[in-house]
Amino acid sequence: MFAGSSLFFWLLAALGALVLPWHMQQEGVGLAGLMAFGQADPEAASAIWQALAHGRFWFWPVVAGVLLALPGALPLGPAARRAQFLLAGGGLGLVAIVAQGLAIGIGGWSFAWMEAAFGPLDDRQFGIGLGGSLAFLGCLVLVTDGLALRGLFKGDRFVSGAVGVLFASILLFTAWPVLNVLGQIFTPQGELDAMAALGTRLFDQKIWGLGCVTASVNCGVFWNTLLLATSTASAATLLGLCFALIVTRARFPGRRAMRLLTVLPIITPPFVIGLGLILIFGRSGVVNQMVETVFGWELGRWIYGYNGVFLAQVFSFTPTAFLVLIGVVEGISPSMEEASQTLRASEMRTFQSVTLPLMVPGLANAWLVVFVESLADFGNPIVLGGSFGVLSTEIFFAVVGAQQDFGRAAVLAAIMLLLGLGAFLLQRAVVGRRSYVSVTGKGDVGLPTKLPRPVRLVAFAIAIPWAILTVVVYSMALAGAFVRVWGRDWTPTLSHFARAFAIEWAADGRMMFTGGAWNSLLTTIQLAAIAAPITAAIGLLAAWVLTRQRFTGRTTLEFSLMLTFAVPGTVIGVAYILTYNVPPLEITGTAIILIACFVFRNLPVGVRSGVAAMSQLDKSLDEAAITLRASTFRALRTVVLPLLKPAIVTALVYSFVRAMTTVSAVIFLVSAEYEMATVFIINRVINGDYGLAIAYCAVLIVLMVATIGLINLLVGRRKLGRRAAAPVGAPA
């Protein structure tokens, strides 16, 4: 109805600034509270009423901005003049909202220099609420509409609005907190001033020391992390490739089971793999005891330190590599391999000179993803690390440990960030600008070539023992839920489940959830279920914008979308609490902060899977819809979206599962009201109550498998109108 003008969003901004309560209300907003024009309590009033009746002069620019934009929002007059009004009014509104929010907090002026310049302010304000949020959103869209009217984004209001909202949300929920935490690098330490403290922290022997090369001391955490991440990434990529080749190209009866097996580690809550490994390879583990009784050798504590962490990480991340690679291996067109064989190349030569080179982008991508995951991994090093420290554990303990040095944590976080970005650049350099396109618009009728014998043998020789080991580790770990004392008293029992998930019936027939785990379980499911669709929606929107639209700042947007992926969870957690505990955006202790954390941490995967799927779709499809006079939005909804079903499933599943299994980021964000399952589990583990922890994990795993099935069922498969499920043709 307002498609032709910006009136809808102007009304939104006006509603936010004039009618609705500007600040967040302690008790929530009731129906009566919505009419905040004329409220006696300044905290419950709308912006204009606070300015009129309560002397809060800082709201005048906000109101002025909104009013100034009105002529631009009405569908009257030439476009150039309307654009000017929209840009000026919306821009003024945005700047005023941000400036007043940052400048005036709960203690009056937020900065000492402002107090010095303007004298003390005997008034204060809390974080923005409903009115402030709507006004911000309204002004933002007015500005993007103005830009579209100016002819940017080819004059497409939908595209410019989408880009504006994406940029704003990345700025608010990623860039701002990360910069905030990096700013802590300059925290003075003792009698040292900012620069000297930075120097001592940055050139620390504990980070850069190389003593382990010559003597048996520990190396600096930087080298430990680099070594661990590089070796884990290489090993996991190799294993993932073996699995991908077997699943797609070999006749093997256990293929489906193998595929299931590779998904298991992704949905496993942290610590389970590490604990399972200790039970098998630990000093008192099964393997050690067997070797000792049979050969009389003592294997000792080899699992602690680099070896154990490496093994556990390869277990955890091989599935990730597999999932990245399987798409690439499936996507290689058989025609090229057939051409090679027609030219009388042997199977082996075809594999070496055609198949393998075509996989390079997939291999590089898998390597990068595992590298970054290994950097940010916290659970495995903490369980198996022993004296072996890596950056993620070091950051955690710099914040919460005996040192309590936030500046050090920030320095370490910056180093970790640089490592992640370095790997990103390296990957781009490897893949380079060569063409890897093998799927064209023409039909693909060939059958995938069989694997050459040596390759098949190697793949099986590596993958099958690994698969068996995975099964053993999991059974050992999950057995802990069903025995009395894990690793000691193997009498079967269900008492752990009873303690966690007991249900009683009260006298009046009401059901009472008396088990200790119910509260956190229900909260976790609820929040994960809210976060997953938001992640998928924003991720796919971003993917569509990135692949289909050309505008300045596109690379910046792509890069900043990937940023949270390289920032470890602990840093994000601390950054969030540091940033959102004070006005203007005061959301600590609410469910919103947890949801925002899930959405923006898992966004990179939504974007990546969207980009991958989108680049397979020929652009002529949306162009055809546009030619038929569908709006951009309609083309997106009716043509592109149904073809993106696999990507939607990936994004939904991944963000749901990650929301249920992340630890390090949420450990600072949970509150008494909103407790998460993983934090509950970790408290059990720290307490040595492994039985309950693993019983809870088992329930979570079952729940997640059920959810994945449900999501697949709800979204459904895309219908491509062809018999074999070969990928859709993509233009070069």
Binding site: A3, F8, L12, M24, Q25, Q26, E27, G28, V29, G105, G129, L130, S133, L137, F158, G161, V165, G211, S216, V217, I278, G282, R283, S284, R301, Y304, I382, G385, S387, G389, F397, V399, V400, A402, Q403, Q404, F406, R488, D489, I534, V574, I577, N581, V582, E586, I587, G589, T590, I592, A596, V599, S631, F668, S671, A672, E673, N683, I686, N687, G688
Partner: protein
């Protein structure tokens, strides 16, 4: 069109804050959840004030309280090792309070309260000692350790674990205790000789005793009550209080500066120091620490603070950040950089 995005974003933006502060208490608890819950429920039963409980390890809680410093969310911080409480007081994150029950407390609790100018008071104490795996030392014919000096016995080569003091408050208390017992230079000399017998310095304070329970290492330097708890869980763990004397940590309580429910916080403070409250909660949680009220009898199997040789721990000096940083830097320089 954009309304769809608007709806999506609207979900992300603030809508409401949790319930108001009438008749509630925000309890920050750094003991185990088994102990926090009886404490919270006991106070609710006694007063009818609704308690919202947040449980976090001491270090994490200090990080949170510090991050919330400009806009405190918690009212009272109960439990957890004393040094972070002292550090919080030093930074002005907690406030002083005098309860009439101070006189009912053990000397060590009163001393801590005086040393921190009333900002922090002890609610329980945990004694430092050794935990050892009885099966493992029997299999290897190792003697059970009884004194600090025993640990230097070469038979324990590669069998001892102690947490890394850079990350673990427990391990820092080990260093502070040795420095107070022996003097600083001899203490570091002792740690240097001990270094050869230590197989790992894990990051978390309870990791060594967990490793002992599962037979991953023979000995650990840990709190005695942790060893007793592992034994109660069914593991062959024995413990000893060092014969030369030992240090302890004080599980502490502080009122957070700027508490929104100050009156309820003070009421909780007063209640939590009473003998009945301490007895009921610790029995329900089956805890073996010594309670700070003199009226609480010692739990069966708990180490006796009266008979064990407990040093006069200087909380003010060793809780201060500057001293802590200096000792940790010296440990890094002189001990952890040594080859093994």
């Amino acid at each position: 069109m954009l309304r769809h995005i608007a709806l999506g974003l609207g979900l992300l933006l603030p809508a409401a804050l949790p319930a108001a502060a009438q008749g509630t208490l925000n309890l920050y608890c750094s003991a185990t959840i088994e102990w926090c819950q009886p404490i919270a429920r006991g106070f609710e039963r006694e007063t009818g004030i609704r308690v919202t409980l947040a449980q976090r390890s001491t270090g994490e809680m200090l990080a949170q309280i510090r991050a919330e410093g400009r806009n405190p969310r918690g009212d009272v911080w109960w439990g957890g090792t004393g040094d972070p409480h002292v550090a919080a007081g030093e930074e002005g994150l907690t406030q002083a309070y005098e309860s009439p029950r101070i006189a009912e407390l053990h000397d060590w609790a009163q001393a801590q309260w005086r040393q921190t100018q009333g900002r922090t008071v002890g609610v329980y104490a945990s004694v430092l000692g050794f935990g050892f795996n009885e099966e493992l030392i029997a299999r290897r014919n190792l003697p059970a350790p009884r004194c600090w000096a025993d640990l230097l016995n070469p038979v324990y080569q590669g069998e001892i674990q102690m947490a890394n003091p850079n990350s673990s408050g427990t391990a820092y208390i080990v260093i502070a205790t040795l420095v107070q017992m022996m003097g600083e230079d001899p203490a570091f000399d002792y740690l240097r000789r001990l270094h050869g017998s230590i197989n790992a310095y894990p990051r978390s304070g309870t990791a060594p005793i967990n490793a002992v329970a599962r037979g991953e290492t023979a000995l650990s330097i840990s709190f005695v009550h942790n060893a007793a708890e592992e034994r109660a869980a069914g593991f062959p763990v024995g413990h000893a209080v060092p014969c030369e004397g030992t240090g302890y940590e004080i599980g502490s309580m502080s009122i957070i500066r700027g508490a929104r429910n100050l009156q309820n916080a003070q009421r909780f403070y007063h209640w939590a120091l009473s003998a009945e409250a301490q007895l009921t909660a610790s029995q329900e949680a089956r805890k073996l620490q010594t309670m700070s009220n003199r009226g609480v009898p010692l739990t069966e199997g708990a180490p006796n603070m009266q008979t064990a040789r407990i040093i006069d721990y200087d909380n003010a000096r060793f809780g201060a950040s500057a001293e802590r940083r200096r000792l940790l830097a010296r440990w890094d320089r002189e001990i952890s950089s040594l080859p093994r």
